[in-house]
Amino acid sequence: MARAKVKRASTVIDMTAMCDVSFLLLTFFVLTATARQPEALEVDTPASVTQVKIPDDKLGMVTVGDGGKLFFGVKGPQIRTRMLEIMSEKYNIQFSEEEVARFSLMEEFGVPMHNLKQLIAMDMEQRATRGLQPGIPNDTTNNLSNEMFHWIHSARTATAALYNEQMRISIKGDANEKYPDIKKVIDILQDQNLNRFSLITKLKGGIEGIEVEPDTE
């Protein structure tokens, strides 16, 4: 009886293709992790249990740090362009096309209006120098001196005009900032009848996040 010999198939798999695909995927993810601009003002936000992510666009962010300095940033270059146009009319400062284009690439800034041209002329590295930008003024002496109020107002007008949507405002405060500095920003928002906003936080570990809608009063 001749036993039929079953040929044992080779159990070796050629992994070259798999390796290729995985490196391709890796390259994709590494490149699509967008390099972010160095923050103009480094802030350490407090931790909270909320896990709701900030929206990707139509978001204005007020950063409070370094002893009450206010910085402002808006997502979306078109909104920034429009916002600058509105502000340039209010404050009667003309910006050239190139300056407007450069401004629309700045994610965050914190200088008074009369220093804005200087800031635009710098390159990214110089702008991110610690302590260079003094913050946006927000004194309430007269209408135009509260520049923070006008930046936020212009940003909201720009969003409404371009996208017909409400811009959301969030406050990113350093954990050690005192409440009066945060209160100033909240007051500015209340003056514009903006009673809903968010606080930017990082995730706190160890407690399960429970999401609750706060009551609107």
């Binding site: 070796v12 798999m18 390796c19 050690n176 005192k178 409440y179 209340q190 968010s198 999401e211 609750v212």
Partner: protein
């Protein structure tokens, strides 16, 4: 296993004790694939973890803020929390001039304010036929941003439905000053 054939020129003859492995080199790429997938997972997760979280806050309308102080709702439903300096807080139920439960100083966290809130959350519906607890948060000038976020967190953790951010009153500020609860 992938085969990477290498040039076999000059391999030692099999006589010596150490056999050169240049001939017929086969490299197992499984480990490399593992590493690549690990890196992919890392980059996938870090780009989404980089986005900061947002905590929604609602404040009462500025013009109507004086009305809030009059507290049209029954006093036994409210608990007021004053955020003092040095990471402490003071809470009381009812009105400041006539509190139902006196001003008490506690810490943040599970042992401090959370216990108080959980207790109040249970008591108020029992005492008032099913009405909800209302919390009023009044930060002093020495409260830090972290304190504010912490107390708003507590609201979420204990699931308080009704809470609001208000302005501290002069009498309450005086109270904190007298009890050395402000930083200066």
């Amino acid at each position: 296993m992938a085969e990477l054939n290498q040039d076999s020129g000059g391999g030692k003859k099999g006589g010596g004790k150490v056999r050169s492995k240049k001939q017929g080199g086969r490299v197992d790429l499984t480990a490399m694939v593992d590493l690549a997938f690990l890196l992919i997972t890392f980059f996938m997760l870090t780009t989404s973890l980089n986005k900061p979280n947002a905590m929604d806050v609602t404040v009462p309308d500025k013009n109507k803020e004086n009305l809030e102080d009059r507290l049209e709702v029954a006093d036994d439903r409210t608990t007021t929390i004053l955020l003092a300096g040095n990471n402490k807080l003071v809470w009381y139920s009812g009105l400041f001039d006539d509190p139902i439960e006196g001003p008490e100083t506690v810490d943040y966290g599970a042992d401090g304010i959370r216990k108080v809130l959980l207790r109040r959350l249970e008591e108020v519906p029992q005492r008032t036929n099913g009405e909800q607890l209302i919390v009023v948060i009044r930060p002093s000038d020495d409260a830090t941003h972290k304190n504010l976020v912490d107390i708003l967190d507590e609201m979420k953790i204990v699931n308080t439905q009704i809470f609001s951010l208000g302005t501290i009153q002069e009498v309450e500020n005086e109270f904190l000053r007298q009890h050395n609860l402000l930083s200066n």
